[in-house]
Structures are given as structure tokens and as C-alpha cells.
Subunit: 310 residues, 2 copies
């Protein structure tokens, strides 16, 4: 699953640890640093871990950058990463930087904790519901934004979105991707979550399938609702099968948590997150008896989402 | 220094953690995996940590490789890394693989331990001696080996080495680079080491300077002896100032530990390592009163080393 859990020699403690690194996808280095940090921490949060004890930063600096580009961009990436680590109540102590053809950014997040501080992902039961804590569509939004400068591609989507829509959805995406899933991790304990995963490169359904395969009980996941950043469903449709957004496979970066919650707790969970973070969450599906399959129903309800940017 | 040490919330325990990744330097993927693993662990060993609780593997697979190359090379790298982790008594649980223009290999090594399991590097006192646990010259040997296929460069060194010498020093280097510094870490406790560092990219003197700057006491390091893989001093000289091997700045990969030891313990330390690992160590210098400088004397004694390969 998202993090590894290693029992330690010291009585009852476990090491919970994760690493992730990728290539920049937004043109704002400071935000890119924040997004990379949020993305690494998300794997811990998916385990219900709310305190990270240390982060390492992994950086590949492009050997094709001029000295001036390097001296401008790299400190901003590092600052973004460190600022968000601080917001998460942790520190960046250690890491490595290398020269590489492509800019690379990522990190390692580690916590040491007793068993009651993390939540094993495999305890969903029939009757649970599935909650998602961020809307989908970040990759579509980031791509659409790049296409503003590529007339041929822009022509494919200009009938369904305006430049302003695209600019707005790009800003919304940066905001969402740099948002910590920490409140959700904390509330997973309060509301007795039975397991979770974070949504990243394999898309909602890809990660749902992985999570359901790790369940102890014979359950399946059925997803009815797709909360999507406003207009991005239309953009995805205009691009044919390219993104697979409505099929559940569009990649997300630093996406939300998908959480199995007891049905009677889910509404309170969503309400608490909204009052703490000002961000909506959604009940998007149910846990049924089954052979550990995950699916999206034939005509899912698309919920158009326009979060308020802080 | 080499690893970060983070005090944990759990009484008296610390998280000791390090990361390192780099680009392949030998043409044997299995050995390359071992070398990368040994190199990451070396940072923990320099702290006197002999038990690593978990490793993550970080892998960049070249997007320029054919499917066949990828399917041949990558499993061998991974196997080498994992085999050496096992030899070190630890496991690789977690990590990430990405596509990248250059092959990249590295990892993260983490341990959780009470204060008596690691040795702070800053306690050298006047009268200590400096011990080095692997000979220098790995970069020279690796380069000389590449030059066998580059007539122009080979011509620069063919008067001082034979092809057989170069082949042998390359095999010796692979053997040394894939050798764990674990026995040294263990013996640092037995013989009351006052601090250590591992020798990697900045060369012997580069890392000695870094270590001396972290000393609590007003001390300096003076290095008299340079143990060097046989013939590599001659190769370095034939190349002019290119390697800076005799000046102490030739990069090493997964080099030895440089350890500050009480004078009366150093000989026993070296003897113990030799009887456990079959590998020589050397007293290469002394700790004197000073302003935290490190230097190699004007005409250091070069010790030509030909380790027996297992």
C-alpha cells in the first residue's frame, strides 16, 4: 500500500515510511515545492498518521538550466517544500541534490509510532461508505493550461471552456494539490475509518482497485459519484479517451484520500473537515459484499466543484 | 554530517536517517545494485549505527533503454541492492521507480535507536589517531577501466599500467565499493571511537575537512599515509591534476570510514576488522591541537594496496 510499516526492535513501536518523487507539472516553483511535499506526506496521512517525525528532500536539478535559472528556481522549490513541511508540523532534516537532465522533486516522510497512531488499510466492512477528500481532474486542468500556448490542442477544447475557465481550474488545481490531507488523517481516528488510500498516478479507480484488493473481508467498492473540478469533465470528454477521467483512471497529483468509513459516521466526517479546512468532501460510493473488485457505475453523477481558493 | 539525527517523541529514542542516490559507474548491474546499497548504509555506519531498521530503494530507469535492456538490467540492479541489504541484516521495504533520461540508483536507510547505539561525530581529542577502512582510488580505477576503450585517453596512462593492472584494479574497486562498513561501525563502540565520516564524493581530504569542522574540541587532522589501490597513484600522476588523488580530493564511491580513535585502541581496531572481514585498515594520521583544519603532509607515504577479492 502507500506506506511501509516496519515493526521496530523497541517494544510496540513501528516505523511508517514512504517516498515519492516526480517531475514538475506546474510553472510556479514555490507551489511545485509545496505540491511535492503534500504529495509525499499524503501516503502517511492515508495510514491515519497525523504526525510526521522527519522528512528528507530529494532534488534533481536540471543540467540544462542556466546558473541564473538554477539560482532562481531551486531556492523557491526548496522554500515551498519546507514551508509546507512546517505547516504539517514536521521538519526537513536531510536529503540529497543531484544534477539530472530533468528537474526532479520528491522526498521521504517517516514516523515512529505505536499501533494506535496508524490505521491499517484493510478493514472495510459491508455497509461502509467511501469518502473522497479532494475533487478529481488536476491532470486535466494542468494539461488544459499548457494548451493555452498550443493552438492545435487548444482548438480541441475551446468550444467547451474559456481561457478564464482554464486559468481558474489551474489555480484551483495548484491550491488543491498543495493542500495537506492532514485533517482527514486526524479525523480517520475520530470516526473509526476502516482504511484509506491516497489518489495519485493511477487515478481514482486505479487506487480504489488497489485498496479493495488489500481488504481482509470479501467486499467490493461501487462508486456512484465523481466530484470533479468545474468544467474539467467537459474538457476530458472533448479529448476523447485521452484522460479516462470519467472512467476513473485520470492521474492525480497529491489527490485526496479515499476513505472507508462506517456509514453513520461519514456525514459528520465530511462536516468536520469542511469546518476545519474549509474544503468539501464527498460520499462517492459504498462497500458491498463482493470479490474485492472496484467499479464506477455506468452513469455516475458528476459533481462540478469550484473550491474557494484561500 | 552523514546522517540526520532526530529526537523522537518516544522517550529517549532517536531517528537516524540518510539518503543517497547517484548514477551508475560500473558496467555490472548486479554489482551496481550492491554498491548503491553499501553506499547508502555507509552513512549510518559512520554514525556507529550497526543495525538498519529499514531501507527504501530509489530507482530511475532510463527512458532510452529498450524493453529488453530494461528487463535485463533493472532486475539485476534490484537483486544486488536487496542481496546486500540482506547481508547487512536489514530489508528493503518500500521505494519508488520512475522513468528518467539517466539511470539513477539510491536509497534511504533508517534506524530508530537509543543514544548508546549511535556515536556523535564531534568528540575527537588531541592524541587520537585517524583510521581509514578502505583504500582510495576507486574513481581512478573506474575511469582507467573505461579508457581501455578510448585509445586517446589510454595513451596517457599506458606507460604506467598494463591492461591487466587496470582490469584487476577495476575488479578490486567493485569489490571494495560493494563491501559494507558494518564491522567498522560495530567496532567503533568496542574501541570508543570519537567520531567518523564515510569517504565519498568529496574525497578523503574533503570529508576530513568536514569532519574536523564538526569537532567540539579545538583540534586539527594531519594525514601522513595514503593507502591507494595498487598502481592507481601512478595512473593519477600520469593524468596531471585531473583526479587530485594525492591531494586528497579524488571522489570515492562507497569508500571507507575515516574514524577518530584513541591512539592505544587503533591497532586493535585494525586487527579486529582484518580478522572479521579479511580487509586491512590503516592508521593514516593524527589529531592535534588546532583550529579545525585538515591537511595532508607534503610528501605523504603512499601505501600500494592489493586486497584479496573474495
Amino acid at each position: 500500500m502507500d506506506s511501509c510499516v516496519v515493526p521496530l526492535r523497541q517494544g510496540g513501536l513501528s516505523l511508517v515510511q514512504t517516498t515519492d518523487f516526480f517531475y514538475p507539472l506546474v510553472d510556479d516553483p514555490y507551489m511545485q515545492g509545496k505540491i511535492a511535499c503534500a504529495n509525499v506526506l499524503s501516503d502517511l496521512y492515508a495510514m491515519g498518521v497525523k504526525t510526521c517525525d522527519n522528512m528528507l528532500m530529494l532534488l534533481g536539478v536540471s543540467n540544462k538550466m542556466s546558473d541564473k535559472e538554477r539560482d532562481t528556481v531551486v531556492p523557491l522549490i526548496i522554500r515551498g517544500f519546507k514551508d509546507l513541511a512546517e505547516e504539517a508540523g514536521t521538519m526537513v532534516q536531510g536529503g540529497q541534490t543531484v544534477l539530472n537532465p530533468w528537474v526532479t522533486i520528491g522526498g521521504v516522510a517517516t514516523t515512529v509510532c505505536p499501533p494506535n497512531e496508524f490505521i491499517e488499510p484493510g478493514n472495510a466492512v459491508v455497509g461502509d461508505v467511501l469518502v473522497l477528500t479532494k475533487p478529481l481532474g488536476t491532470q486535466v486542468a494542468v494539461n488544459a493550461h499548457q494548451w493555452l500556448d498550443e493552438p492545435e490542442r487548444w482548438n480541441r477544447i475551446r468550444l467547451v471552456v474559456s481561457e478564464e475557465d482554464v486559468e481558474m481550474s489551474y489555480q484551483v488545481s495548484m491550491f488543491l494539490m498543495s493542500k495537506l490531507n492532514r485533517t482527514a488523517a486526524k479525523l480517520m481516528h475520530k470516526y473509526n475509518a476502516h482504511g484509506a488510500t491516497d489518489i495519485t498516478g493511477f487515478g481514482l479507480l486505479g487506487h480504489a482497485k488497489n485498496l479493495v484488493q488489500h481488504q481482509k473481508n470479501e467486499v467490493s467498492f461501487t462508486i456512484h459519484n465523481l466530484p470533479i473540478i468545474a468544467k474539467m469533465a467537459a474538457v476530458a470528454k472533448a479529448c476523447g479517451n485521452m484522460f479516462q477521467l470519467l472512467q476513473g483512471y485520470s492521474a492525480e497529483t497529491s489527490g485526496g484520500l479515499l476513505i472507508c468509513l462506517p456509514r453513520e459516521q461519514a456525514a459528520s466526517f465530511c462536516k468536520d473537515i469542511e469546518s476545519e479546512d474549509g474544503l468539501q468532501s464527498w460520499i462517492i460510493g459504498i462497500v458491498e459484499k463482493g470479490q474485492r473488485k472496484a467499479r464506477i457505475i455506468d452513469k455516475p453523477r458528476v459533481i462540478e466543484v469550484t473550491p474557494k481558493i484561500e
